[in-house]
């Protein structure tokens, strides 16, 4: 399976998204290459989650084109949507676990619905995914309401990974995790990306993640991508918001450590 590095797996062109009289994304264009980890940074309330949700088709757009895995979701029927849904995994900012299923059942859900697995294999595979994100079988028996914030994140990641997707959308995966776990999380994502050729689109504020695992970083400000490239390129950007973001004390500290 040889693919050219420059092949775009997600293409966003001239995207405009707004609510009522507020324009959140204003003519945004972005390419995500196959096999890379792209980190998206931006001010809180700047529209990062909105961009992610628009790409996966949850928020209608006012203008523009979005292509994921070579197909546009505009006017896609239920079958097409489902076929695409098998090929991506999504970690929502709030987890979005099914509250009436246990954690284990949450992970089993996409497996059960899409594949024809024997019950034993279904169980083992789901437990394996839980183990990979650092949850025990004991945690698997709990309901989402009984989880801590970080456990919710990890359970949601396990569910997102259930079908070994080609693209992983992560909305602030490491927020609310302790630094050790956040580090393991980054490592896991990096391993999966290297071995499975996974493409990761990650919204994050975690400066460590940006430095250690992101191949490219995109900065979102004023509804557009104002800087894009390796972390060094973005650091060199002259855009005032980007300068402020990476010029802060915490950012300088993080940079000094890498």
């Amino acid at each position: 399976m040889q693919v050219s590095q420059a092949e775009a797996i997600i293409r966003v062109d001239d995207l405009v998204v707004g609510f009522d009289d507020q324009v959140v994304l204003d003519g945004l264009s972005l390419r995500v290459r196959r096999g890379e980890i792209l980190g998206l940074v931006g001010a809180s309330g700047g529209g990062k989650s909105v961009l992610l949700r628009t790409i996966i088709g949850l928020i209608p757009k006012r203008r523009g084109r979005i292509e994921v895995l070579g197909t546009s979701l505009d006017g896609a029927g239920p079958e097409q949507t489902r076929a695409i849904g098998r090929r991506w995994g999504i970690l929502f900012q709030q987890g979005a676990l099914f509250s009436s299923l246990t954690v284990l059942q949450n992970v089993q859900f996409p497996l059960r619905e899409n594949l024809n697995l024997s019950p034993a294999l279904l169980e083992e595979l789901a437990l394996a995914k839980l183990d990979m994100v650092g949850l025990t079988p004991n945690d698997g028996a709990k309901y989402p309401a009984q989880l801590s914030g970080g456990m919710t994140k990890r359970a949601a990641l396990a569910r997102a990974l259930a079908l070994d997707p080609e693209i992983l959308f992560l909305d602030e995966p490491t927020s609310g995790l302790d630094p050790i776990l956040a580090g393991e999380f980054d490592e896991l994502i990096a391993t999966l990306q290297q071995t499975l050729g996974l493409t990761v689109f990650m919204v994050t504020h975690d400066l460590d993640s940006l430095h250690t695992i992101c191949d490219r970083v995109a900065a979102l400000a004023d509804g557009k991508i104002v800087a894009l490239g390796s972390i060094a390129t973005v650091l060199a950007s002259e855009h005032p918001w980007v300068k402020a973001y990476f010029g802060g004390k915490r950012a300088r500290l993080a940079r000094a450590m890498h």
């Binding site: 509250s99 594949l115 309901y143 079908l163 070994d164």
Partner: protein, 378 residues
């Protein structure tokens, strides 16, 4: 995508040697499952297993787990099993999977059948007690909130109460009018039809008047309010509970009963008697209309007869009951709402419980009132 996976091998003495090839990925899950299941009996007889993975073109977590699982079926639970010549690209993934599911599986607690039955009976009995306790607790909490509000009237949430009166009272008027009108009409029609056989048509007025004013008006309206507004209360408070809004209120030093529940219950206590009155009038109107159109009794005669047979007592009996019904509905709805736990399912369950329980209690209460009024001769 990718070529068909394959798995072949031989066993010699205690050593098994297998060769895996092709795409060990989720797309080929059916083939892979069959391959691994077919190989498992052979492998389980061996102590040592070597899988040559040089020809594996693609691997994902599913494939890696199936290989790992096969290795764990050997005699020594995989201690002498190994995967050789796996491409470096997949090494990291395989090592990850190699670590997974090592903890011994939890042993489920098994209870024998008779014990389980007994346990259920016991739990059901406890549930009834808890239900009662929850109801009384809510009533007490409400009483305390009322006392506090009486002492500091400025803390009363007037806007909220007015808003809820609007919602459960005013907005319910059209549907209440329609339903009670139809019920009045149906009772009158049935009465005329059957009373006609022994020439007692004019007694229809007695039946409609007394039945509607004393019993049916308030009962039907209460049941409708329980279904319409009680369920809404439970769902609202339940989802607030789920999103920790109620905890937030509490930590800010507010009493959720005073802020959320008192205005709601009070709104019901105000609205339900009004709705019961409106409903009773609509039912009488429906009855009168049918008596005129179907029974040929002119409206003047109907009204005159109504005046004769219906005393204020009947009306009072109906109206006295209404606020109590409202209280029961409100208290049940709110306390069930607060019993919602984290899941969407429990929200649905508690809403159902709230409606079923309040309708049941409304009918029981109506029965108790009937006994009470009979004993005091009203």
């Amino acid at each position: 995508m990718g070529s068909q996976p394959s798995l072949s091998g031989t066993i010699a003495g205690e050593r098994a040697e297998f060769t895996a090839a092709g795409s060990w990925t989720i797309e080929h899950v059916d083939v892979l499952q069959r391959l691994v299941e077919a190989a498992a009996p052979t492998v389980s007889r061996a102590r040592a297993l070597t899988i040559n993975a040089a020809a594996i073109e693609e691997l994902d977590t599913l494939g890696a787990w199936l290989l790992e699982r096969l290795m764990r079926t050997t005699d020594g639970r995989g201690s002498e099993a190994g995967l050789v010549d796996l491409s470096d690209r997949y090494r990291g993934l395989f090592d990850k999977i190699h670590e997974v599911n090592r903890a011994p599986a939890a042993v489920p607690v098994v209870t024998s059948r008779p014990v389980a039955v007994l346990e259920n009976v016991g739990r059901a009995a406890l549930d009834v007690r808890t239900d009662l306790v929850v109801f009384l607790e809510m009533l007490a909490a409400l009483a305390i909130a009322i006392l506090r509000v009486l002492r500091h009237p400025q803390t009363f949430r007037l806007t909220s109460a007015v808003y809820h009166v609007f919602r459960v009272g005013w907005q319910a008027v059209p549907i209440i009018l329609l339903i009670t009108f139809l019920i009045g009409a149906i009772i009158a029609q049935q009465g005329i039809f059957h009373f006609r056989k022994f020439g007692a048509e004019s007694y229809v007025v007695d039946m409609v008047g007394i039945l509607v004013l004393r019993e049916l008006g308030v009962l039907i309206v209460s049941i409708m309010v329980a279904g319409r507004s009680g369920s809404a209360y439970t769902a609202e408070l339940g989802s607030m509970k789920m999103r920790e809004e109620i905890d937030a209120l509490r930590t800010m030093g507010f009493d959720p009963v005073e802020i959320l529940i008192l205005p709601r219950v009070l709104a019901l206590v105000i609205a339900l008697p009004i709705l019961a009155f409106v409903g009773a009038m609509a039912a009488l109107y429906g009855g009168g209309l049918v008596a005129w159109l179907y029974g040929g009794m002119s409206p003047e005669v109907f009204v005159a007869r109504l005046r004769e047979v219906v005393s204020v007592t009947h009306f009072e009996v109906g109206m006295i009951k209404a606020p109590f019904m409202a209280l029961v509905i409100g208290v049940i709805a709110c306390s069930e709402g607060l019993r919602v736990t984290g899941s969407a399912e429990s929200l649905g369950h508690q809403t159902t419980v709230s409606v079923v329980k309040s309708i049941f209690l409304v009918i029981v209460l109506d029965g108790l009132f009937a006994v009470f009024f009979a004993s005091i001769g009203m």
